[in-house]
């Protein structure tokens, strides 16, 4: 399930880095990336990020898998940039985009969801003065991660049910049952959270 960028167990240096440090690095690189404006700086960043994969015991093929979904957006962006601002600018934009996605994926692949959520909860602690409950933010993030495969599963069921009844690919006939099932799932999940003591 690497397509969803889920955790790959391991004991490398990258795995052992604290989750907070990894997230902070991602934030800094993301913010700093706007300052890069020459192709060799971007190439350097890309090499550094790619170097993190073998360091984490991950193959470059895994790395490639992380950027593959970008092909359409990147292709579109490349065409626009080549037309508007030339080859070099296009290379910089694409390189930065790829580097950031690769870095984000590297963090996700080497960090347990719990550790990541804990780090975010710690980071949100100052927001308490504004009445924000950091634990609640953490829970929302976790449930979001968990619900992706569940909703994908529901979508498959709906599609199968449609095919079984010989219905064509009508977007409405697909969306309505999917939304109804998702809401029903949300109710059941809420009940389970209460049963497991979340509100207590």
């Amino acid at each position: 399930m690497n397509a969803l960028g889920l955790y790959v167990p391991g004991h490398s240096v990258v795995h052992r880095l604290p989750a907070g440090a990894k997230l902070l690095l991602l934030l800094l690189v993301g913010a700093g990336s706007v300052l890069l404006d020459s192709w060799w700086q971007v190439a350097g960043l890309l090499v550094l990020v790619l170097g993190g994969y073998p360091l984490a015991g991950l193959s470059l093929r895994t790395a490639l898998g992380q950027v593959r979904p970008l092909v359409w957006i990147a292709g579109f962006a490349a065409v626009v940039h080549v037309v508007v601002s030339g080859w070099e600018r296009a290379g910089v934009v694409l390189g930065v985009l790829a580097s950031l996605v690769l870095l984000a994926a590297l963090v996700t692949l080497t960090t347990r969801a719990t550790a990541m959520v804990d780090a975010i909860v710690t980071g949100c602690r100052p927001l308490r003065v504004l009445g924000v409950d950091p634990e609640r933010i953490g829970l929302v993030l976790t449930l979001g991660i968990r619900c992706v495969p569940v909703v994908v599963g529901l979508a498959e069921e709906v599609r199968e049910a449609q095919q079984a009844r010989g219905l064509g690919a009508s977007p409405r006939a697909f969306a309505v049952p999917l939304i109804v099932r998702s809401l029903r799932h949300a109710d059941a999940l809420g009940e389970a959270l209460v049963a497991r003591g979340v509100e207590d």
Binding site: M1, Y7, A113, R146, H185
Partner: protein, 228 residues
């Protein structure tokens, strides 16, 4: 000890009001209690009363002397609840994380949490899946995970709402075998009547009422006649 006194429960209001439980009073102290009945007979609502998921419209429910209305938090600490659909119950993305989730509010030291989680995973045959994404488990493994996540908190009472309805015969049998060895009191709602072999007491619900309260043989016989 579970004490249910004169409980009536109504969903909705006025025009759409629907009474799902009517005048139910029962005391349950036996280690194994089964609950059976037709779809919509009120049995799911009945078991949801036991951990305060549903608060009765009238009457009271007490577990070990604690009222579910006034001491909901303490009751839920003592009562573990296992649902029909494990997908709705598994809240964390990976197996070990989900088992650890129930221990969060205990504020235990990290090594203790890890040890308890590892023990629970071993006990329910999930040790090899600790870091696997929960959604890649089979249906039977998911239900075992849901059960492990509940039992790791060491509840005094385990309530199960049709835990085997979505499972095949082998997995249903396996869940039943696991449940048979548990030290705690178990209240099990099921349509798999053979799971009730060896139970101490079985309640039959029909049209919002508790209509039969007897040994498994007698209660199942009553239920079969009712459905005939």
């Amino acid at each position: 000890m579970i004490e249910v006194d004169d409980v009536t429960h109504v969903y909705g209001e006025q025009a759409t009001a629907r009474t799902v439980l009517r005048d139910v009073s029962v005391r349950l102290s036996e280690p194994r209690v089964g609950v059976i009945g037709a779809n919509g007979s009120g049995k799911s609502t009945f078991v949801r009363l036991l951990n305060g998921l549903v608060l009765p419209t009238a009457g009271s429910v007490r577990v070990d002397g604690l009222s579910t209305a006034d001491d909901g938090r303490e009751v839920r600490r003592r009562v573990g609840f296992c649902f029909t659909d494990p997908d709705a119950q598994i809240v964390m993305p990976t197996v070990a994380e989900d088992v650890a989730f129930g221990l969060r509010r205990r504020k235990l030291p990290r090594p203790e949490v890890d040890a308890r989680v590892a023990d629970a995973l071993t006990a329910y045959g999930l040790a090899g899946h600790a870091d696997h994404p929960a959604h890649l488990l089979s249906g039977g493994q998911k239900q075992l995970l849901a059960l492990a996540s509940v039992l790791v908190t060491e509840p005094d009472l385990l309530v199960m709402d049709e835990p085997t309805t979505l499972l095949d015969l082998r997995n249903a049998r396996h869940i039943a075998d696991v449940v048979a060895t548990l030290p705690q009191q178990v209240v099990l709602v099921t349509h798999h009547l053979e799971l009730l072999d060896g139970f101490d007491r079985v309640l039959v619900f029909d049209e919002a009422r508790l209509v039969c309260d007897d040994s498994p043989e007698a209660a199942i016989g009553y239920y079969r006649k009712l459905m005939a």
